[in-house]
């Protein structure tokens, strides 16, 4: 079936598949599940950022015989979490490298006794010097990881940057910083584990990637594939925060279950979740850009530095995405990006919606406004002149073969937001008002799927089968955590096969049942996994056609009758498909060159802000998000993804600050880590353009991460429009605005009466 053909189910707002269960309060999240004889588990954590563990003492006033106690010595296999490099210990062994690092695990039937026991384990340390910032790590006088504190570095080069400076009409420089951001999924991390020597380990929990957890458990227990089973329970939000960390918590719960000889549940409370689990990588990005007299980009020299925390986890791939997104959606003949991920002694940073792109897009899109100001050009016009177009090449020399419509998105965004009229109006009204209004934009792209050769390496397998109860089942390890996986994939399967959505169900996300369709990350589910399900559906029909006499057109009853004939003759009715890279996709890891992503989603954000010069606080008053994401599979769900991402991006820009004290998060409570409430989000106008992508599920590209990339630069650009002052760092708090506004002469501040 071609992607542009008329569809019955794809493209319509089918209600969320598991929606009724969620709305009735029936959906079972991990903390809602009890197992017979289950104990509770808790974690003893480090109180210092770095040091040698001299001893672990168990207070003799506690009857430790009642408890299951696990330390590094109890790990039967390898004491390391298996992500990209296996450097993070499952339990600290001899040394700690960040505050809140897990040192010992305890389990007991009574939660209260457990709390008391955790407090009764005393760790004696010999402190070591620690580093907390990119700058401290760069100095390399204290080495906290490897030989040089560097987790990963990349060099991306196109043309010759060094020759471009002398002839340039303008050279504009800037430095941009972004802070740590907490996912703040409303369901904290949690896991239940069971262990027995015959069947091995089973883990249930709140997670994104069953096979990631599976891989770590195999290593930690030294068990073969079939003796490890990971089952995702209903997951109350993730945003990347349940991509890497569940491998840690799953291992912990399983170790306690082994030691206790019974099921063990570990649920973090909010304070523990905030203090001990990963956040978004902080970044510092420097731009130096050569521009000609017409505003055409001549050269971009970019330096990306991220703070990776104490262990490498996913820092290398986050850095890769940051590197590839750092030049923005623009054509430039000479580009150099030097990027590095640095080790520090904080909780390891991990995956978070956007995965390095929001940091990179913040920098380039703030910088574009700085360039425009520097050369005296309208920032809209500057962007328009430099957008990638059909046939142009990106910084990695990827040729734009799919139709690019940034111009059209921009026009639509300007019209819908009435951009120029508002801008003029604010410029007139601001001088007489304590409230300064402004409007700003951000233009950006987001690569769909894994970076470079990632999808090829993943080699995902997914498909459908037909159960004896007469349902088509979608077989994927892709998980639902609010983004709509269940709904989208059942829509695709029912469309491809020619059934109603009610005839298609999702298989339990259980590694004992579903094949490895790869992790549920990187905006890859609709595009990559969706395509596999579409192919598997089509393949199922032709299989039944060839082997079980299914006619060209068929009714529901005829379809299932054919399935029964097939089953009687040939056994299970299953159709699986393996990933096939789109043609002409080549990526050179060595040279860091080629097709960085099979497809891109494109977007323009427009933010209107009001800066109050009495309180220095900023409110986002109105917001427009215009995007091209390939085929929109389900408009209600797609709109919800955009709005949710924009709200999270607004938080990233203006509210969400992690306050550090000696490497520990000091504001680890919801009352002090501030996310936007129902009173803080502006109206969000969401507009789609659709250009179906042949190699995505019914034409879909990625959508989930895109909306988090734009709000921060659009908002800070709007603040510049409102106040005349450039801010280059987020989160931008009223305290920061005060500090710059009172010194800036361009604005009359109430404080200087």
């Amino acid at each position: 079936m071609s992607t542009s053909a008329k569809t019955r189910i794809v493209g319509s707002s089918v209600p969320r598949k598991e929606g009724v269960d969620k709305l009735m309060g029936r959906a079972r999240y991990v903390d809602d599940i009890e197992r017979d004889g289950m104990w509770h588990g808790a974690t003893v954590r480090s109180s210092i950022p770095r040091g040698i563990i001299r001893s672990i003492e168990f207070d003799p006033r506690i009857d430790w015989g009642e408890f299951a106690v696990v330390t590094a010595a109890d790990v039967p296999g390898e004491n390391h979490i298996q992500l990209i490099f296996a450097d993070q210990p499952c339990l600290a062994d001899g040394q700690v490298n960040h505050c809140e690092e897990a040192i010992a695990l305890l389990a007991h039937p009574n939660k209260q006794k457990l709390r008391e026991a955790v407090a009764a384990v005393r760790i004696d340390y010999e402190p070591l010097p620690a580093v907390f910032t990119i700058e401290e790590s760069e100095r390399q006088d204290v080495i906290v990881w490897g030989e040089d504190n560097i987790f990963k570095s990349f060099l991306l080069e196109k043309g010759n940057v060094d020759q471009a400076w002398t002839g340039a009409a303008h050279v504009i420089e800037g430095e941009y910083r972004t802070g740590a951001q907490e996912h703040l999924y409303i369901e904290n991390n949690g896991m239940i584990a069971e262990y027995n020597s015959a069947h091995g380990v089973t883990v249930w929990g709140s997670l994104q990637c069953p096979y990631y957890v599976h891989k770590s458990l195999m290593a930690v227990f030294g068990l073969p594939e079939e003796k490890v089973r990971v089952i995702q329970t209903e997951t109350g939000g993730a945003f990347g925060g349940k991509e890497d960390f569940p491998s840690v918590l799953g291992s912990h719960a399983a170790l306690l279950a082994m030691k206790a000889g019974r099921p063990v549940k570990m649920i973090y409370d909010r304070m523990e979740d905030l203090a001990a689990t990963p956040k978004r990588h902080p970044s510092r990005i420097r731009h130096r850009t050569a521009v000609d007299a017409n505003g055409m980009l001549l050269a971009m020299d970019i330096e990306v530095a991220t703070d990776g925390g104490a262990y490498s986890t996913l820092s290398s791939t986050v850095l890769s995405r940051a590197t590839l997104h750092s030049p923005g959606p623009y054509v430039c003949p000479n580009v150099r990006v030097r990027s590095r991920a640095w080790a520090t002694n904080t909780v390891p940073y991990g995956a978070f919606r956007g995965f390095g792109a929001p940091q990179a897009i913040f920098a380039i899109e703030r910088h574009m406004d700085e360039i425009a100001a520097g050369i005296g050009m309208d920032p809209i016009e500057l962007r328009r002149r430099n957008f990638l177009q059909d046939g142009t090449t990106t910084a990695t020399e990827q040729v734009m073969r799919e139709h690019v419509i940034m111009d059209k998105l921009l026009d639509r965004a300007l019209t819908e937001s009435n951009y120029y009229a508002r801008k003029t109006q604010f410029a007139q009204e601001n001088p007489a008002s304590a409230i300064k209004r402004g409007i700003g934009i951000a233009a950006f792209f987001h690569g769909s799927g894994f970076t470079g050769s990632g999808e090829r390496n993943l080699n995902s397998l997914a498909g459908v089968d037909v159960t004896s109860e007469g349902k088509v089942r979608v077989l994927v390890s892709s998980t639902e955590f609010g983004q709509g996986t269940n709904t989208i994939l059942t829509q695709i399967a029912s469309e491809a096969i020619g059934l109603d959505i009610g005839d298609v169900v999702m298989a339990l996300p259980d590694t004992g049942i579903v094949p490895n369709s790869g992790p549920t990350v990187a905006s890859r589910t609709s595009m990559v996994v969706g395509k596999l399900i579409q192919r598997a559906g089509t393949q199922l029909v032709s299989m039944l056609h060839d082997k079980a006499g299914l006619e060209e057109s068929f009714t529901r009853a005829e379809f299932f009758a054919a399935c029964e004939r097939y089953r009687a003759k040939l056994g299970d009715v299953v159709s699986l498909c393996r990933y096939e890279p789109p043609p002409n996709i080549f990526w050179d890891d060595q040279k860091y060159r080629g097709e960085a992503y099979p497809a891109y989603a494109w977007s323009i954000h427009v933010a209107q802000v009001a800066v109050d010069t009495i309180t220095y606080s900023t409110e986002v008053e109105d917001f427009w998000a215009v995007q091209e994401v390939g085929r929109v599979l389900n408009p209600v769900l797609a709109g919800g993804q955009i709005e949710g991402g924009v709200a999270q991006g607004i938080g990233y820009a203006l509210y969400e600050k992690v306050v550090w004290q000696n490497g520990r998060m000091a504001n680890n409570q919801m009352t002090n880590y501030i996310m936007p409430t129902a009173e803080d989000v502006p109206p969000i106008h969401v507009l789609f353009e659709e250009i179906p992508f042949m190699h995505g599920g019914f034409g879909a590209k990625g959508i989930g991460e895109l909306p988090h990339d734009g709000p921060a630069p659009a908002i800070l650009n709007a603040i510049k429009d409102a106040t005349g002052v450039s801010f280059c760092s987020i989160p931008l708090m009223p305290e920061d605005i005060l500090a710059k506004l009172v010194v800036a002469s361009s604005i009359e501040v109430a404080a200087t009466v």
Binding site: R115, I614, N672, I674, P734, V742, A750
Partner: protein
């Protein structure tokens, strides 16, 4: 849940006299708990030190709003929903109604009591600036009887107040004489809702022919407890609202407030913003129109 429910005793005598006699018999043993929106947070965090608690929730004698000829009496057990939805409060003490609507969210306002807000004594308490501006009197009660103290003299230090171990906060009395006054309140929080104040300022002033006859200014998060800016009031009182008065008032406020740096904000920010709010209030007095 870090606290242990089994480690705490909680009793509910159900009547005011029942609670008072418990407090009288064993002074210092029993900690009152009203809506619990402070104490239950501490409980969940494992920081609730009080072992024996006595419940004030549901005691009718403490939850009332009564209009008397010269004042309105608000029972300490009144919730912020009660205050927010009360006609006379909204009409005559709009700053208090407004403050009530800003305290947490609906689910918090339905439980949080005025007495709990004041007795808890947070420097950031949101009902305080308004009560200071309205010259509220507090009525304390014990088995020994009742006594009144001006609210402005209630707090004596960080989380310290004049109440004796056997006393409860019984009622807040609001004098009904501000019909002609200009009134102002602004809370500066970390976001628009569900926000702890970084600073807040309330003002109530009587202006006649451009001269300030009477003024009270209450502020939160600028000292160890909510307090009036007496020196600043003095600098304005009796003065004509000229630019020099505004400037002098700013200078006075900047020297009078002693805010701190904490995880929510900085002392510098608090100082400057409180001065800005003061100025906004004073400017509103010069113009036409009533309260802000």
């Amino acid at each position: 849940m870090r606290g242990n429910p089994e480690a705490h005793e909680l009793v509910a005598p159900g009547t005011l006299s029942g609670v008072l006699s418990m407090l009288a018999n064993e002074p210092g043993k029993w900690t009152p708990i009203a809506g619990g929106t402070e104490l239950m947070v501490a409980h969940a965090a494992g920081r609730l030190s009080a072992r024996c608690l006595v419940s004030l929730w549901g005691i009718r004698d403490m939850r009332f709003i009564r209009a008397e000829p010269d004042s309105i009496a608000v029972g300490a057990g009144s919730t912020f929903s009660d205050l927010r939805n009360h006609q006379a409060i909204s009409a005559e003490f709009p700053l208090l109604a407004k403050a009530a609507s800003w305290i947490g969210s609906v689910a918090n306002q339905s439980r949080a009591t005025l007495g709990g807000n004041l007795a808890n004594g947070s420097p950031a308490a949101d009902s305080s600036p308004a009560l200071l501006a309205y010259d509220a009197q507090l009525e304390l009660i014990s088995a020994r009887g009742t006594r009144r103290v001006p609210y402005a003299e209630f707090h004596t230090g960080y989380k310290h107040n004049v109440m004796a171990a056997d006393e409860l906060l019984y009622a807040v009395h609001l004098p009904r004489r501000f019909g002609q006054h200009r009134q102002y309140l602004r809370k500066v929080g970390t976001r628009r809702a569900m926000a702890i104040s970084k600073v807040a300022l309330a003002g109530c002033a009587l202006v006649e022919q451009g001269t300030v006859r009477e003024i009270r200014i209450g502020a939160a998060s600028i000292a160890a407890y909510p307090t009036r800016l007496y020196r600043t009031e003095d600098s304005i009182s009796g003065q004509v609202l000229a630019p020099e008065t505004l400037r002098a008032a700013r200078v006075s406020a900047l020297s009078e407030v002693q805010p701190i740096d904490d995880i929510r904000s900085t002392a510098e920010y608090r100082r400057i913003v409180i001065a800005n709010l003061l100025e906004e209030f004073l400017r509103s007095l010069t113009g036409a129109g009533g309260q802000q």
